[in-house]
Structure formats: C-alpha cells, structure tokens
C-alpha cells in the first residue's frame, strides 16, 4: 500500500516538447539531504528527484515505525503483558534524525575531505572492525551495532536504482531470523533474491529493451511488493491453520 500510494509521485510529467531537469533546479534543502547528489535515477529524462518524494518517504517511514508501536501497545493491553518499547523508540528517533542530520554532516566531513575512492573503504573497514570487535560483547551493544550497520547499508544501497528494496530485504530477513518462521523465511529469501535480480536488471540491463522504462519501474516495484503481500497472506493463513489444530 505504501509503495502503491507513492506511484503518483513517480508518474512522468507530461511535457509537449520533452522534459528535462537539472539538480540545480532543486531547492537547497534537497541538496542538504542528498550531499552526494544521490537520486533514484540520475537520467535527465523521466521521473526526477523532488522534495515531495523525500517528504513522502520520511512520513511513510515515521508511520511505519509508529503503527507497530500503536498496535503492540493495544495488543499488550488485551494480552496482559507489555515489554518495553523504549529501545524501539530510541532507534526510531535515530533512524529519522540520521538521514536529516547525520548523513549530510558525515558525508561532508568524511567524503569531501577524503574523496569517495578513499572514504568508502575507510568507512567499510571501520564498520566491519566495529562489528567484529563487538561480537563477543553484550546483546544490547550487538543490537546497536547491527542497527547502525543497517543504517549505513541503507545509505550506501541508494546508489542502486532500487536500493530501498535492498534495505527492505535486509529488514525482512532480520524479521525471519527473529521469528524463526518457515513461511517468513521462505518469502524473505524469495523477496531478497528477487530484489537483487531487480537491482541487477535495472543497473546493467536497463535501457536495452524496447518497452518503456516506466513499465519496467512499475513492474519491478509491483512484483516485489506482491511477494511481500503474498508472504503476509501466507503467514495469516498459517496462523489460522495452527490456531485450529488442537495442541
């Protein structure tokens, strides 16, 4: 639903003499949020980056975090046991603040000072080093490192046309690991494999076909979201079947 609701933002504008755009036309807030000039597609034709898209995804992200907390607290009141949502709230706050402040500031400090070819290995080696060093540490620290690594991955994955789907894939795989559910794992793996194919397709094969690029975009997005919807439906059916079978 979230992806489907975003489709109007990605519809190509109708222009009589062809559409062109340049990042210099975009407001300064956009340049602050995208210090490396990242965009979902850097072609000068078709869907172009806008502040509206950023605002939509930020709002979707916020709702995506708030909705489970609301659902969880409501359910906890019914079931009668409630665990703390504080770490979740802290991570949410961090995930929202990081792209607005952390990424722009860090990118300007690190990448502008060292340049991409040098800064990227430094960053990757730094993160891997911290992950390895904290592996025997306490569970809470390991969780923090895992979340930070995922956020860094989320930033780097945006160089791919469908990078956000890669981030969703990592999240779904994490969920499958936590839930230890065969249905969730099956659909998580299926989704991850398909998302890698979609990104490879869009990065290296894109443009070599005769049908419109927009059709490829929507096809890729819809097919990926369809896997998640089917996974959710399968999970629901599996739970109903399990509830019916007496223990």
């Amino acid at each position: 639903m979230v992806i489907a609701a975003a489709i109007p933002l990605y519809l190509p504008p109708e222009c009589r003499f062809g559409c062109t755009w340049s990042t210099s036309d975009l407001p300064s807030v956009w340049h602050w949020l995208h210090p490396t000039g990242q965009a979902s597609r850097t072609s000068t034709l078709g869907a172009h980056p806008s502040l509206w898209k950023d605002a939509y995804w930020l709002a979707a992200l916020s709702m995506g975090f708030l909705a489970p907390v609301w659902w969880y607290r409501r359910r906890a009141r019914k079931v009668g046991v409630e665990t703390s949502t504080r770490p979740y709230a802290q991570v949410t706050l961090f995930v929202l603040v990081f792209p607005l402040l952390g990424v722009p500031v860090l990118t300007r400090l690190l990448f502008n000072a060292l340049s991409w070819p040098l800064a990227l290995p430094v960053l990757v080696v730094g993160v891997v080093g911290v992950v390895v060093a904290t592996t025997p540490a306490k569970r809470r620290l390991r969780t923090v490192v895992a979340v930070l690594s995922l956020i860094l991955f989320a930033h780097l994955a945006m160089i791919f046309a469908f990078g956000p789907l890669l981030v969703v894939a990592v999240g779904v795989l994490g969920l499958a690991w936590v839930e230890r559910s065969a249905v969730c794992t099956t659909f998580a793996v299926l989704f991850a494999v398909w998302v890698v194919v979609v990104n490879a397709w869009s990065t290296w094969v894109y443009g070599s076909f005769l049908w419109p690029a927009a059709l490829l975009d929507y096809g890729d997005l819809l097919s990926s979201s369809l896997i998640l919807v089917l996974g959710g439906a399968a999970g629901l059916v599996a739970r109903r079947v399990r509830d019916k079978v007496p223990a």
Binding site: G80, V81, T85
Partner: protein, 102 residues
C-alpha cells in the same frame, strides 16, 4: 562463625509464588493481574496477598487503570525488585555450585 548455606536467600523473594511474580514481571515492562493469575495458577485472593507483600517491600509497583470499561491492575518490578531478584539468583547459583562440588 560459619554461615548456613542458605543465608543468602531472602524470605520475601524466595517464596515460590513471589519468586514467580518477580521473575515474570522482570521479563516485561509491566504485567496484568489476570495474566499473572493464569500463568501462576493462583486464585485472585492469593495472588493479591503476594503482590501486596512485594509492594510493601518496595519490590514491585501496582498501577490500576482501565482497558475500555474493564478495570485492569498492572504490576511492574522496581529497581530494588530487580536487584533483589538478581541477588536471589546469585544465592541460588552459589547453592548449586556448593551442591555440585560436594
């Protein structure tokens, strides 16, 4: 003077049902009275008495509220409660070690 092997155990915490209440409450932010009653297989009166003992010792906090029109009583463990439970577990562990070495 030699200390008895069970001197580390706290009577307020060690009682089987109170230990159950503290253990369950320590695993969550807060637990509802009905949930504890079912999980510990206690009557409402019996559970209430044990919760009162723990509350008077400052080991749990009791919060009364409503879920819609239904009255609910929530129990949460205090910092002192967590410390007392950790001390109880350490005492039990020491007792087990002593038993294994014998």
């Amino acid at each position: 003077m030699i200390e008895p092997p069970t001197s580390g155990l706290d009577d307020t915490v060690h009682q089987r049902h109170r230990l159950g209440i503290l253990t369950i409450a320590a695993e969550a932010e807060r637990v509802e009275f009905g949930y504890l009653k079912t999980l510990l297989s206690l009557t409402a009166g019996n559970l209430s008495r044990h919760v009162t003992v723990l509350e008077e010792a400052g080991l749990v906090e009791v919060e009364k509220g409503y879920d819609g029109r239904r009255p609910k009583t929530w129990v949460s463990v205090t910092a002192a409660g967590r410390e007392a439970l950790a001390a109880e577990m350490a005492a039990l562990r020491a007792l087990l070690d002593r038993h294994d070495q014998a």
